[in-house]
């Protein structure tokens, strides 16, 4: 790592995204160094140190669960306020994402798809808090989620058609034999491309949004105080757009996951 003083202002700002630097060791005034010192003593063969992205993910998982738990504990049939908002989001996930793509069989996937939606949504929204961090702007996070989706696709398909049956039916039947030599590798690549696209889409969208805001604000440093009004105005517009993106990306990730799992459950479609 180069010394911060030797970096351009842009490069200094981009360092905020790098979770290997010292910047990543604390967030909202909480320092993770003592905790990481303890974690290093554990007999685990790989690094599990906590940084700000990990903290945001904890917070996001905690908030997702507590808010849904709170909404589910409400008394009476008429919901209002926060409970109503959570119910609306939940209804959206259940009826528009899970039920339409997975049908009746897909009810046991509801926690998985709903978890994806709320986890990604709160990750994105917490990333918009000043001094916060968006874990989705790191490919490791999105890739981990996408790998879980890949496993979900495989498990759903194998449960339905059996382990061997699933691999046999990966390519559509009824075609001349020699076509399968080409078709089968394509189907395998397409299977792997699904989670890959999920991971890259979420990562790229969130990182791009944050970079644009950073770049707009960095212009003040690069070109002087006179561009500040324009820069700030566009920064605020981008920020509002980022809130929209936070919802849209969570929705896209959840609905594509359920479409993939649904296609795996109902291979005839």
């Amino acid at each position: 790592m180069a010394h911060p003083e030797s970096l351009s202002p842009m490069a200094q700002m981009f360092e905020e995204f790098d979770l290997t630097t010292e910047h990543a060791q604390h967030i909202f005034g909480i320092n993770f160094e003592p905790l990481n010192h303890v974690l290093k003593q554990l007999p685990i063969p790989f690094d599990i140190s906590v940084n700000k992205a990990v903290f945001i993910m904890w917070l996001s998982a905690f908030l997702s669960f507590m808010l849904i738990f709170y909404a589910g504990r409400g008394r009476g049939l008429v919901a209002s306020g926060l409970r109503n908002a959570m119910e609306a989001l939940f209804q959206f996930v259940k009826f528009d994402i899970v039920d339409t793509n997975l049908g009746h069989e897909g009810q046991k996937w509801l926690p998985f798809i709903g978890g994806l939606f709320f986890f990604i949504l709160f990750n994105n929204l917490l990333g918009l808090i000043p001094a916060g961090f968006s874990p989705g702007s790191n490919i490791n996070v999105t890739a981990s989620l996408a790998i879980l989706v890949l496993f979900a696709i495989l498990i759903a398909g194998m449960k339905k058609q059996g382990v061997i049956g699933y691999w046999l039916h990966l390519a559509p039947g009824g075609l001349p034999k020699w076509i399968y030599i080409i078709l089968y590798p394509i189907e395998v690549i397409s299977l792997l491309a699904k989670p890959f696209s999920l991971a890259v889409r979420l990562f790229a969208n969130l990182l791009a949004g944050h970079i644009v805001i950073f770049a707009l604000l960095a212009m003040i440093i690069l070109f002087g105080i006179y561009v500040a009004p324009l820069s700030l105005a566009f920064g605020v517009i981008m920020y509002a757009f980022e809130i929209f993106v936070a919802f849209i990306q969570a929705y896209i990730f959840a609905i594509l996951s359920s479409v993939y799992i649904g296609a795996s459950i109902h291979p005839e479609h």
């Binding site: 209804q91 509801l110 978890g115 490791n140 981990s144 879980l148």
Partner: protein, 161 residues
């Protein structure tokens, strides 16, 4: 940014995994139940409202029928009453006319009878008076035959008056 960071992968899978387990166990169940309960409640309410509406429509129709019936009945009663009044009037008039006639006839009869009586009495009185007067004037006893003849003559003269 693109480098592999095992800590992030580890914690992503752990926190997301715990979230999914908790949501599956405690989170979504009650929410699904609430939604189902609400759906049931709304459906029941709509059905109940529908039933109530049908009942109300039925009652309205019943009342309208009854009202129409009552109107017809009232018309009939009115007509009957009118007819009854009319016939009663005619009867009363006829009766009173008859009564009047009867009374007039009775009065005439009475008058006639009274006149007759009066004539009879007058006749007797006149007979007596004229007898006395005659006896006094003539001052002589006539025989029975001449006496009666005299009275008869006198009376016919009186009756002519």
């Amino acid at each position: 940014m693109i480098a592999l960071q095992s800590n992030l992968m580890f914690w992503t899978i752990v926190s997301f995994g715990i979230l999914v387990l908790l949501l599956g166990k405690f989170g979504f169940g009650p929410l699904v139940q609430i939604l189902e309960a609400r759906e049931r409640k709304i459906r029941e309410s709509i059905e109940q409202a529908e039933r109530a509406r049908e009942e109300a429509e039925r009652l309205l129709k019943e009342y309208e029928d009854k009202l129409a019936e009552a109107k017809v009945e009232a018309q009939k009663l009115l007509a009957e009453g009118k007819q009854l009044g009319e016939s009663l009037r005619a009867e009363i008039i006829a009766k009173s006319e008859e009564e009047a006639k009867r009374m007039i006839a009775k009065a005439e009869e009475q008058i006639e009878r009274d006149v007759e009586q009066a004539i009879k009495e007058l006749r007797a009185e006149v007979a007596n008076l004229s007898l006395e007067v005659a006896a006094k004037v003539i001052e002589k006893e006539l025989d029975e035959k001449a006496h009666a003849q005299l009275i008869e003559k006198y009376l016919s003269e009186v009756g002519r008056i």
